[in-house]
Each structure stands twice: as structure tokens, then as C-alpha cells.
Subunit: 324 residues, 2 copies
């Protein structure tokens, strides 16, 4: 379906963006200084005292002339990443944004507060601590491309897992999309996402890793914003289900989890939460890729070689869920 | 034209992104620490030692099934901003990206190195200094919405210039799109832009403010990447024209410049550069909006109420230039 749809194109009625959430913070008492702000330009006074908009989330949308679904798909990325997650894969194939556009959805891609085009604020003046950064070394094992220490700077010396479906020869291209993140902005991030959902919900939500944890919490607090929630390897889960049983949930898991104590713990937390939902009468499905014969998927199925196949399974779940 | 085209939609063949430029930097000697990285999640070790991809520029493209021009439009934003500049205006109208898509162009919107989805690197470890931040107060006078001190936190107390065409009631929404920037990354930024141009050039380039300065310098060094260059209020200009005479140039200026000593100096520098180009035989046009009867334009004509009219004049220049 994708290949044909891609060839014939998508009839787009509107491409645009907006910011959800955000408020003014005022800084006082900062020293003024003279700075050459523009290359080849003169110095000018820079004064950091004043008002800043902070806590907003960037949302980019693509609307179709004739969408085939009654609700759009919204995408929330994972930690140290941005909406780029859902665009072209590191090896240049169309990503899940394109897949779901071709399938007939309007799409809304978010950058979380402080990430990507959402911007970020001075610290320690407005944000109270310094950010964390993701190294290529950490990404290698955290995303289960290979074991701890399997990454070295020279691509020829790297040792990915056997059968890995991630386009590992483009690992350095992939690393271009990492951004710094703060660890204490969970509530700020959710507040902005709720503003986005207030504006465009209900949606089908697709959320990855840290974003998956936000998705589970959001559905437990505001089920009215969701037609259904698809969480791709959530990095954590709430301790109670709240009102989440009103929302159908699909959990998606890749391979190599048993090789990582961290991922064993993350998965256990998410499985426990899924059990909570089921016990409370929720509509829950677990899509465990290796268990149904797809070995080799990493933490990033939206970039793995079989990304379209995984998306097709998600689309199938959406189609069944909305008609049930 | 726009209204009709917008109604009938744009037939899009491909929406995607890539990163241009970038290289690996390696950090050593950083202390490890345990951090609760995900909300509700367990602590894990965070180790900032290792490899980072740095110096890349994010490029997002929209390609049409049947583009009406032989070359795409590429957009470069100004200081403390991102590609959001070219999307929906702060008051919700379609921006210049939509205008030029509707006119039949493929579009390429860049985030400069360190801005928006391009990400940024640890300082002082990889970037050698701290960033600057833009306040709402500074933006108010720097973008010529009103005079120095004309901004206050309470919207009711703000005093914009009489006749201003910027949608000033959405000034706080507009401030959501500011991002921090470094002042010593001019060469890094240009290097990444050259990589983007190597991949998709020649292009019609539309560049704003600080980006306008990059555009003038880029055209002087690599005219082969450009069909023409449109600079919207460049914040500076090179001191020599290099090979720029091979590239047609359009300079666009808004109103209220005479009220700002800073803008008088910026404009003089750009006018001097335009004179250099003309003296060397270059194809140069100055679109001085107040001089042709459009009073009230700010530093951001792509967001002013008459943004489509200004874009139509730019499109007219492109049409004449390519057929001459």
C-alpha cells in the first residue's frame, strides 16, 4: 500500500505549526554586556534581564484534503530526541510520518518542552539545573544496537548485535538528531502536551520511550483526549492506572531485551502496568515483535529496516480498535 | 492565487528531513553520576564521556509531484530563531513556506547549527562559550515593533509603533519560537549550510536577518549553489563581494528603520554591499517597502499582515530573474 500511495502523492490542504502551553518568566539583576552578535557586524548591548516565554511545546501538523480517519495521529518522541524521530529514517527511507500520511491520517508531530524547536531557557535562572547530553556510546547500548562497550569511534570497529535490523551503517547520521534534555521537567512537558491535546484531540497517539511514559500518564489522567495510545518501548509507567481503562492501549517491544538489565527492568514496569490495566478491564494488546517471529528489532522500530511492517501492524490495530 | 491554490491543496510526493554537515567530537575526563532520567523510572548511570555529533544543520523538505520551478526554495532563519519563522504566522495565517508551496516550489527549511532540531553540544567542553538568550523586551525594539522601553509584561501597557503591520496582539505567541544561540559559530553554520547546498543546490535562497548575512557571504564564496538570493533585512554584510556578481540579489527592507540607530547602521552596511555588487556589474534590486507605499512593515515581513503581498513581490522578482 505504501509504495503505491507514495507514488501517487498525498493531497495536502495545510502544513503548519503552533506552540502549545508556555508562560512568561521574568529575569532581573543580570549584568549587561557588549557582544558582536552577527558575523561581520558591530557590537551591541546584550541584556538578559526581561521576559522569556518558557514551557511551550512545538507542534507541526500536516492536514490532508481528504483524511481517511476521523482523528489525527499525534507523535511524541523519546528522551534526548525530537520530532525528527518520525521523519526520514537515518538511511533515507520514508519514516512513520510518511507511512501514516499515506494511510490517510492527518499528522501532528510534537517537540517536547525544551527539545528541538520548542526552545529552552537560561539555567540556573529559569530552569533550575543543567541539562544532560547523550553520547553515541550511551545510545549504542541504551537503544540495544549492541552490548556495553560495543561502540567505538571508528565505524569499522563497532560490534552490533547479530541480526540487528537498525541501519547501523548510518549510526553517526542518526546521532545528529540527539538534543540535550532536562530530567526534572516531566510536569512541564505534560502540561504543554495537554494544551496541544486540548486543541487537536481526541487523537491516536504514537509515543516512544520517555514519550511512552508520558503517554501512559496522560491517558490515565485525560482519557478524553485519546482514541487510543500506542507506546513504543515506554521507559517507565505510572504506578496506578487512573482513568486509563477508557483508552485502548497497544504496547510494542523489540528484541534483545533479555541482554540488558536496564531494559528488563523497564519492560517489567510496563508489563506490570499493562497487567493493572487488564485487571481493571482495559483494552490492552502487547505487540512483542520477537514473540511473533520478528527478531532483530532495536529500541527504534520506526527506523529499523522493517519499519513499514511494524507500522502496518499498528495501523491494523487502529483499524480493529476503532471498529470494535 | 494563494487562496485558490490553498483550497485545492498541494500534491506532495515527499516530506522528510536530513542533517547536513557535522562531525564527531570526543569528551574525556567527565565524572559519572546516577540520575533519575525518566519520570517514575529508576536511577541509572549517566556518563558524559564519549562521542558527540556536532556542527550539523537540520533540513526539512517538502517535494511536490509536479513542481512548477526548476529549482527549490531554501529558507535560512535569523538569529535566536529556527525554521519556524517560515511556517504559520503567530496569528495563525499560512506563512511563506505555504505561499511558495502553493506557487509551485519544492521547499527546504533549515535550522542553523545549534538551533532548533539541529541540537547543540555541551559547553565549555565542546562549544567554548555559553549561549545568548533573547528576551521579549529585546525583540520588541530589535524587530522594530516599537521603541526602546515600549515593551512591558502586561500586553495592555505595550506601545507598538503606529501603523505597525506585525500581529502584535500575538507577540507572546511569537516569543515562543526564540531559541538560544552562540555568537562564535559563523563558520560552523556556513560549513553545514554548504553541505546542504551541495546536496540540493542550486536553489532560490530566502534568508532573514542573521541568515541574510550568511546568505550574502555564501553567494560570494559559492555562487554555483544559487539561482538567486533574497535577503530580508540582513543584519550585516561581507566587506568584499567575492564571486557574488554571478548571483542575482534582492534586498527587502521594512519600515521604521530611521527610528533605530542600530538598524540605520545595519542598513548602511547592506546598502554599501549592494553598491559594491552594482559597481562590479551585479544584478541587484532593492525592495524598499515604505518607498513603494507599504508603510508599517517590521523586521519580520513574513509574519506581518501583508506577508502574502510581500511574498508575491518576491515571486515576481524570481519569475523575472529566471527568464532574463
Amino acid at each position: 500500500m505504501t509504495a503505491t500511495a507514495a507514488k501517487s502523492g498525498v493531497h495536502v490542504s495545510e502544513i503548519g505549526s503552533f506552540f502549545a502551553g508556555g508562560h512568561i518568566e521574568t529575569l532581573v539583576g543580570q549584568p549587561q554586556r557588549r557582544v558582536q552578535v552577527a558575523r561581520n557586524g558591530p557590537d551591541r548591548v546584550v541584556d538578559l534581564n526581561g521576559d522569556y516565554i518558557t514551557g511551550q511545546s512545538y507542534v507541526q501538523y500536516i492536514r490532508q484534503v481528504s483524511p481517511q480517519f476521523d482523528a489525527p495521529i499525534m507523535f511524541w518522541h523519546g528522551g534526548a530526541m525530537t520530532g525528527v524521530t518520525w521523519e526520514t529514517t537515518p538511511d533515507g527511507r520514508p519514516g512513520w510520518q510518511s507511512f501514516f500520511l499515506n494511510a490517510g491520517f492527518d499528522t501532528y508531530i510534537c517537540d517536547a518542552v525544551e527539545r528541538g524547536r520548542s526552545g529552552w531557557s537560561p539555567h540556573p535562572e529559569i530552569y533550575d539545573e543543567a541539562p544532560l547530553f547523550r553520547t553515541q556510546n550511551e545510545a549504542w547500548s541504551l537503544f540495544r544496537f549492541g552490548g556495553e562497550g560495543g561502540y567505538v569511534t571508528d565505524p569499522a570497529g563497532r560490534r552490533p548485535y547479530k541480526g540487528l535490523r537498525f541501519p547501523i551503517e548510518q549510526f553517526d547520521t542518526f546521532g545528529s538528531q540527539f538534543v540535550p534534555r532536562w530530567t526534572n521537567h516531566g510536569q512541564l512537558t505534560l502540561n504543554a502536551y495537554f494544551k496541544a491535546l486540548e486543541r487537536v484531540g481526541p487523537v491516536w497517539l504514537v509515543a516512544h520511550s520517555q514519550g511512552g511514559n508520558f503517554a501512559l500518564e496522560a491517558a490515565s489522567r485525560h482519557p478524553e483526549y485519546f482514541k487510543g495510545v500506542i507506546v513504543i518501548e515506554p521507559a517507565s509507567a505510572p504506578s496506578a492506572e487512573g482513568r486509563a481503562c477508557a483508552v485502548p492501549h497497544l504496547f510494542v517491544w523489540g528484541d534483545y531485551i533479555q541482554r540488558s538489565p536496564l531494559w528488563i527492568s523497564y519492560r517489567k514496569r510496563a508489563d506490570d502496568y499493562a497487567d493493572l490495566l487488564v485487571a481493571a478491564g482495559g483494552d490492552v494488546k502487547i505487540l512483542d515483535l520477537p514473540a511473533i517471529g520478528f527478531s532483530g528489532n532495536s529500541h527504534l522500530p520506526m527506523m529499523d529496516h522493517n519499519s513499514d511492517e511494524v507500522a502496518a501492524m499498528m495501523l491494523d490495530w487502529i483499524a480493529k480498535t476503532r471498529s470494535s
